[in-house]
């Protein structure tokens, strides 16, 4: 896209013709990617990685910013039975200034309706909705001289974006790969996503040491073994991504060693550790519905129980699709106990619960 054309000025003029709609509301009917109102992308390729995982190569439409940082995730919304379902996945491709596509790698979860749909059901050409990259599980620039990655299963995807970035830089301008140790656990060799690419990468760079662990044969990683696998782990900045129990163990291990500061974690599930609210009656003003909810039920769940057409996205507090206007009352963020209660404040409903009676504008 050329930077010389003042696109926003053009759109503003166009909106005089299309008011009360936006020009994009018409243009997207000509080409689905010609709209910045809701970000969209077209699935260009579906690359099978393992039996149950695939990489989706997506070409984003107008309004996309390609400057994601390696390790960040994007939201992806797909219409299933007429209803948009949203999930967040790490971008596995490295950021490219000249890039026109992004890649996400998805593993089908046995109980995950959407992940199975993404892996098996998306034909090239499908239009999906996108949410801009977010997350602070990222590779710093410049990277620290010594790094350790602790990865379990599909937790490889954000790490892959970081490794590909390091690999590309090493290739492009001869900057040496920093001293990287990657410990990668997977049930079997077959289920190991990116196995071949990682092998090739390790071969290319002396700085990259790859430890594979096949947990079906050899059992889970015992963190006491870290001293053997990577004797200098205490001196390395560490990124860990994988299943919840693994991350809990890693977190505890680093805290015990007094090294919590140099550990970066990426959790792909909601961690509601904050105190609950007291609950109360939640009123949905526009639809005239209301429901009693306890302090552990999120506003979103309560609204859905009451039969209100609540907007939602990731359901874990990151994408802000679920934001509604709190007209009256107080709510509490279940992650950290923060309270919100200004009249007409926009709040996220998927991670908050009622503290007494409250009213929403929907």
């Amino acid at each position: 896209m050329s930077t010389t054309v003042p696109w926003h000025r053009v759109r503003e003029l166009g909106s005089k013709l299309t008011t009360p709609l936006h020009p994009d509301d018409y243009l997207r009917l000509v080409n689905p990617l010609w709209t910045a109102r809701e970000l969209r992308g077209r699935v260009e390729k579906v690359v099978p990685e393992t039996d149950d995982a695939a990489t989706l190569v997506i070409r984003p439409g107008w309004g996309w910013q390609y400057r994601h940082r390696p390790g960040q995730y994007v939201g992806i919304g797909v219409q299933v039975d007429g209803k948009f379902q949203w999930r967040s996945y790490s971008v596995s491709s490295p950021p490219e200034r000249s890039g026109r596509t992004i890649a996400i790698t998805v593993r089908a979860m046995p109980e995950g309706l959407l992940s199975a749909h993404l892996v098996q059901g998306l034909a090239p050409g499908t239009i999906v909705r996108l949410a801009l990259p977010e997350g602070d599980f990222v590779l710093p620039d410049p990277p620290p001289p010594r790094m350790l990655f602790l990865v379990g299963g599909s937790g490889i995807t954000p790490v892959m974006a970081m490794l590909r970035t390091l690999d590309r830089r090493a290739g492009e301008n001869g900057r040496a790969m920093p001293d990287v140790v990657l410990h990668y656990s997977s049930p079997t060799p077959d289920r190991m996503i990116f196995r071949d690419e990682l092998h090739a990468m390790a071969e290319r760079h002396d700085g990259l040491a790859l430890h594979e662990l096949h947990t079906d044969l050899d059992g889970m990683l015992d963190l006491a073994d870290l001293d053997r696998i990577c004797p200098d782990w205490r001196e390395r900045e560490t990124w860990a991504c994988g299943p919840g129990p693994m991350l809990d163990a890693v977190e505890a291990h680093y805290e015990e060693a007094g090294l919590a500061d140099q550990l970066h974690l990426e959790r792909f599930s909601l961690d509601l550790r904050g105190e609950g609210g007291e609950g109360g009656t939640i009123t949905f003003r526009n639809s005239g519905k209301s429901i009693e909810a306890d302090g552990a039920t999120t506003i979103l769940e309560a609204g859905e129980q009451a039969g209100v057409g609540m907007p939602f996205g990731c359901r874990m507090g990151i994408c802000h699709t679920c934001t509604l206007r709190l007209v009256d009352g107080t709510i509490r963020d279940l992650r950290n106990g923060d309270e919100f209660g200004q009249p007409n404040e926009p709040v996220q409903t998927c991670i908050t619960a009622a503290v007494g009676d409250c009213t929403f504008d929907i």
């Binding site: 008011t19 109102r37 039975d81 007429g82 209803k83 379902q85 526009n286 057409g309 699709t321």
Partner: protein, 413 residues
């Protein structure tokens, strides 16, 4: 006559009324559970068609009027395409999306919280005056501003005033300028006249109407004519014709909803301790359907199924036809009056009421159908028809789709 108690009027027992409520709830659940890809495809297809028609109409007018040979047919085709697009947008798309009929799709582009429709009335005010006031207090005297819109006397219980003699004229004006009548509806002319309206709120609403109305006028009467070059006059008249066609059509459809003879009014007593099941009954007794083919129903936003729309304002409109079969069977089973007729008869009855009620009651006869059973309250004047003040009503909606307003405007409210 106005009904003070729906149970009494329909001679149903409390148990029967509750049973009807449960059966109507079951119909809702069935539809909610079967909403899916086909419904989503319907609304998306309709939006595509509507925007295509609008674009085709604009282009036909801008290009086709340039040559002398094509000027006339282009004017006719352009005005027709544009009028059709405006009708579809207002009736089947805008009205229904703002009711939340498509919120279940979780698509922010087709959601009640941020839809803005192609008419002068700002969506926020519509959602208050229509979704809340009219649908909650349907046909209750003194509560529902849609009984005559503060301009016409549409119920015998409303006090006659000499100014009512002009009703046929006001009616014709309302039909012609319908979009502007709708635009002013939430201001509540009657309350302003009685100086009961909060001046601050009135100013805010007026600002909103002016802002939206200005953009609508600019679009149809300045920008597109300017793009037509020296044939700007043809574009102005075609756009005015399209707006007029939409005004007349939406006026007729809306007057067929609650003004034909079978649609009853209610007094305030009915609202007291009204259960959900009684609310359902009031919706059936207060609304009137009209018959027609699928195309007529789409062009009227499926408001020919006014009864079903009032029972389930937030279920997808494309399902009303199948819901109507079930609701009608239920009404037959319990001998509940179900008003339906051809469009011309329904509108004819509404027009007759407008003309009749321009005169005092003693000069005309009532056209109300005989109730299923005599009610004690027949022909008694209602007690207190005072309009509720803002304090007596629940708080109003202040939010409009965030993307249609700048941050500065939001902070004013």
């Amino acid at each position: 006559m106005a009904i003070a108690d729906v149970k009494e009027y329909t001679h149903l027992t409390e148990e029967e009324v509750e049973q009807i409520g449960r059966e109507l709830d079951a119909i809702r659940t069935e539809i909610e559970e079967s909403r899916g890809a086909a419904d989503a495809a319907y609304i998306n297809r309709l939006i595509r068609i509507q925007r295509g028609l609008a674009a085709a109409g604009r282009v036909t007018l801008a290009v086709g009027t340039q040559s002398k040979k094509t000027r006339k047919p282009a004017w006719v085709a352009g005005a027709a395409l544009l009028g059709l697009a405006k009708i579809l947008e207002n009736m089947e798309i805008g009205h229904n999306v703002m009711h939340g009929q498509w919120d279940w799709m979780n698509d922010p582009e087709i959601h009640s919280s941020n839809w803005e429709w192609d008419t002068a009335q700002p969506a926020e005010q519509w959602k208050h005056s229509h979704n809340y006031v009219h649908h909650q207090f349907t046909n209750v005297l003194g509560y529902d501003n849609d009984i005559g819109y503060g301009i016409l006397r549409m119920a015998r219980e409303q006090k006659w005033h000499p100014a009512n003699i002009g009703q046929p004229v006001y009616n014709a004006m309302l039909a012609t300028l319908f979009q502007w009548g709708v635009a002013l509806h939430d201001l509540d002319i009657e309350r302003i006249r009685k100086r009961e309206k909060d001046p601050k709120e009135m100013k805010r609403q007026l600002r909103q109407i002016l802002r939206k109305g200005r953009n609508q006028i600019l679009k149809d009467y300045v920008v597109y004519p300017a793009l037509s070059g020296r044939n700007w006059k043809a574009t102005i008249t075609a756009n005015a014709t399209a707006n007029l066609a939409r005004n007349l059509w939406s006026y007729v459809i809306i007057f067929c909803g609650h003004f034909p003879d079978g649609a009853m009014h209610f007094t305030e007593e009915e609202l007291e301790d009204e259960t959900r099941s009684e609310w359902y009954l009031r919706q059936i007794l207060g609304a009137a359907n009209f018959e027609g083919g699928p195309l007529l129903h789409i062009l009227s936003g499926n408001l020919g199924f006014q009864i079903e729309h009032h029972l389930y304002p937030d279920l997808p409109s494309n399902r009303y036809a199948e819901i109507a079969v079930k609701v009608r069977a239920l009404c037959d089973k319990y001998d509940i009056p179900y008003t339906v007729g051809p469009l011309h008869r329904q509108y004819g009855q509404a027009l007759r009421t407008i003309i009749k009620l321009s005169l005092p009651n003693h000069m005309t006869s009532s056209d109300d159908p005989a109730p299923p059973q005599r009610s004690d309250t027949a022909n008694e004047p209602s007690l207190d028809r005072r309009r509720k003040s803002d304090e007596e009503r629940p708080p109003r909606r202040v939010e409009l789709g965030a993307w249609t307003r700048s941050a500065g405007e939001r902070s004013h409210d």
